[in-house]
């Protein structure tokens, strides 16, 4: 193929590139695959994606040249498995190597996708990851167990979960990792536990495992990654409807039915027909609300999960912000009017005490961190920087993985940092990214402008597992705000001074001066 054609291919979109390659005659195509391996690698071109769309005659011709094309065994198997059914039928497999014969014999559907069969010998799927999509949400326990074996053989197959009729992709290795974690949580719940106790354990485990996606709303936010069931568990990040999906999936395992409900810019769960034990000894049965996303930080840092099994009325009260504004995050009268049961505070404390996640008095573990934090505030009342250092240490002792659960950590910092005790003019807890990081992963930072110690900068170092202080210049050189955050701040970074410009109409004296 001449350099002009290669240049045209490199400039085309992926869709056009594939169409151009499919338009080549078989000889040219073979030549291209032999001599332009690097090009294919660079532009993520899988040979089977070209050959599967060729007409039957071209496919036959290409197969006759297959051995000359300098392809890997997996690439050849992908090509053979994705041939048109009529072409496959015309190939005599008796004298072919086993790897080729099994690839040809694998049933495929339109577009060359492999029809996955749970009872097939999984070895026959080896190397065909790119052709396999499985939807294992409704697998039985036996099927799940078997499918885990498949995940070892094809770790990069596509595993899809659905959310509001949209399919989201995880990889089979992510599936396996997530399912192992799910089993470790559910299998360790004592069998004698009540339904409510089991739900409490699962909600707590999700909060300990998952944090809200820290890049949500930024220029690098990829929503589909935060909504794929098994990817969320594997990566540890999800957005509200994705987190709700995870909890729904886990609750289904213990026999609790639920529905994902949306409020304003938010999603959570409506649990159907559950039994809740009340502090007065009664048990109530009916529908209730569980908001796993709003519980994430609380569960991670051992706070009271006050969005756990609440009535619609309580959920709407929780929607009020500190300024008294209604966020309407849980407003959905139509879907939630029959959510009439919920746990009052004492009943919630009793429930969590009964499963060992609150103490005998019904106090949650966050109490220890807050008390430690208060003591630090007293001890370092005149030294804000040292106060901060000790607060960070206390935080890291409570949650060693704090640097990787950014949003939960921000929530916790808001509780333990005391604006007055830090003698602050301003104290910001937010996210930035490292300018050298092309993925722009979120990093939690704390910026303190103190009346006593001036400006201080700290960031949560994932490698060291601690907050690291940097001089202002170094911090500014290394980190940057996301575009969206900067926009919300009127283009001025929190640590920057407001430009001194006229901010009002001219005074009378100035006007007189101008008139003169």
């Amino acid at each position: 193929m001449d350099s002009q054609k290669i240049e045209a291919l490199s400039k085309a979109t992926q869709e056009d590139r594939m169409a151009m390659l499919r338009g080549l005659n078989v000889e040219e195509l073979s030549e291209f695959l032999i001599h332009h391996r690097e090009f294919c690698k660079e532009y993520h071109i899988h040979p089977f994606e070209i050959t599967k769309a060729l007409d039957g005659e071209k496919q036959k011709e290409f197969i006759s040249r297959l051995e000359q094309c300098n392809l890997t065994l997996n690439e050849k198997r992908e090509i053979l498995a994705s041939l048109r059914p009529e072409v496959k039928q015309g190939i005599d497999v008796t004298n072919l190597p086993r790897e080729y014969a099994t690839a040809i014999q694998i049933p495929t559907k339109y577009g060359g996708q492999v029809v996955f069969e749970i009872d097939r010998d999984f070895e026959e799927y080896r190397g065909l990851d790119n052709l396999i999509t499985v939807s294992p949400e409704d697998f039985t326990p036996e099927q799940r167990k078997k499918f885990m074996e498949f995940c070892d053989i094809c770790p990069n197959a596509e595993v899809i979960s659905s959310l509001r009729d949209v399919a989201y992709s995880s990889s089979s290795s992510e599936y396996k990792e997530a399912e192992e974690w799910i089993s470790s949580v559910i299998d360790n719940i004592p069998s004698e536990y009540s339904q409510a106790q089991k739900i409490a354990i699962i909600d707590n485990a999700i909060g300990k495992k998952i944090s809200h996606t820290p890049t949500d709303g930024t220029e690098v936010f990829e929503p589909k990654d935060s909504k794929a069931l098994w990817k969320i568990i594997s990566k540890g990040y999800g957005v509200c409807n994705g987190v709700a999906k995870v909890e729904q999936y886990m609750l289904k395992r213990i026999g609790v039915e639920s529905e994902i409900v949306s409020g304003h810019e938010h999603a959570f769960l409506k649990l159907i027909d559950v039994e809740l034990p009340l502090a007065n000894g009664e048990t109530v049965k009916g529908n209730t609300i569980l908001d796993p996303t709003w519980n994430l930080a609380r569960q991670r840092f051992g706070g009271m999960p006050d969005n756990f099994c609440i009535t619609y009325e309580q959920a709407r009260k929780n929607d009020l912000t500190s300024l008294g504004l209604d966020s309407q995050a849980h407003k959905n009268d139509e879907k939630l009017q029959d959510d009439t049961i919920g746990l009052d505070e004492q009943s919630l404390r009793n429930l969590y005490t009964s499963v060992g996640l609150a103490d005998k008095e019904g106090m949650f573990p966050l109490k220890n961190l807050v008390e430690k934090s208060n003591a630090i505030n007293e001890s370092y009342a005149n030294n804000p920087e040292e106060n901060l250092q000790h607060q960070f240490l206390a935080l890291s002792q409570t949650c060693p993985e704090f640097a990787t659960c950014q949003n939960s950590t921000m929530s916790a910092l808001k509780i333990i940092l005391d604006f007055d005790k830090l003698k602050a003019n301003r104290c910001v807890v937010n996210r930035v990214y490292d300018k050298t990081d092309k993925d722009k992963n979120a990093v939690v930072y704390v910026y303190l402008d103190s009346k006593v110690s001036g400006k201080s900068f700290f960031f949560a170092d994932k490698n060291k597992g601690q907050f690291v202080q940097l001089p202002q210049e170094e911090f500014i050189n290394r980190f940057e705000c996301y575009e969206k955050d900067l926009e919300n701040l009127g283009g001025i970074r929190p640590w920057e001074d407001i430009p001194k410009e006229k901010d009002s109409l001219p005074t009378k004296e100035e006007q007189k001066g101008e008139e003169k």
């Binding site: 809200h212 500190s322 940092l417 919300n488 101008e514």
Partner: protein
């Protein structure tokens, strides 16, 4: 509209003629442009969005979908 109405309307228009709208004339002499610019600059209002409150500022999202703003209890 019948013919009689048309005639009445025509006569009415003769006697109730509206005054023409007179546009304000542009100034004949051009004022000093620098003065103009200075004047515009002097009345420009610069108000950056900066939350200056006496509490820890954290990430804010629409509808508080993150649940970060709420205080945690124990």
């Amino acid at each position: 509209m019948n013919a009689l109405e048309k005639i009445i309307s025509f006569i009415k228009n003769i006697f109730n003629k509206k005054e023409e709208i007179k546009m304000i004339e542009a100034p004949k002499h051009v004022t000093n442009t620098k003065d103009k610019e200075d004047f515009f600059t002097s009345i420009k209002v610069f108000r950056p969005i900066q939350i200056q409150n006496n509490e820890i500022e954290t990430l804010i999202c629409i509808g508080d979908g993150l649940g970060i703003q709420k205080n945690m209890k124990y």
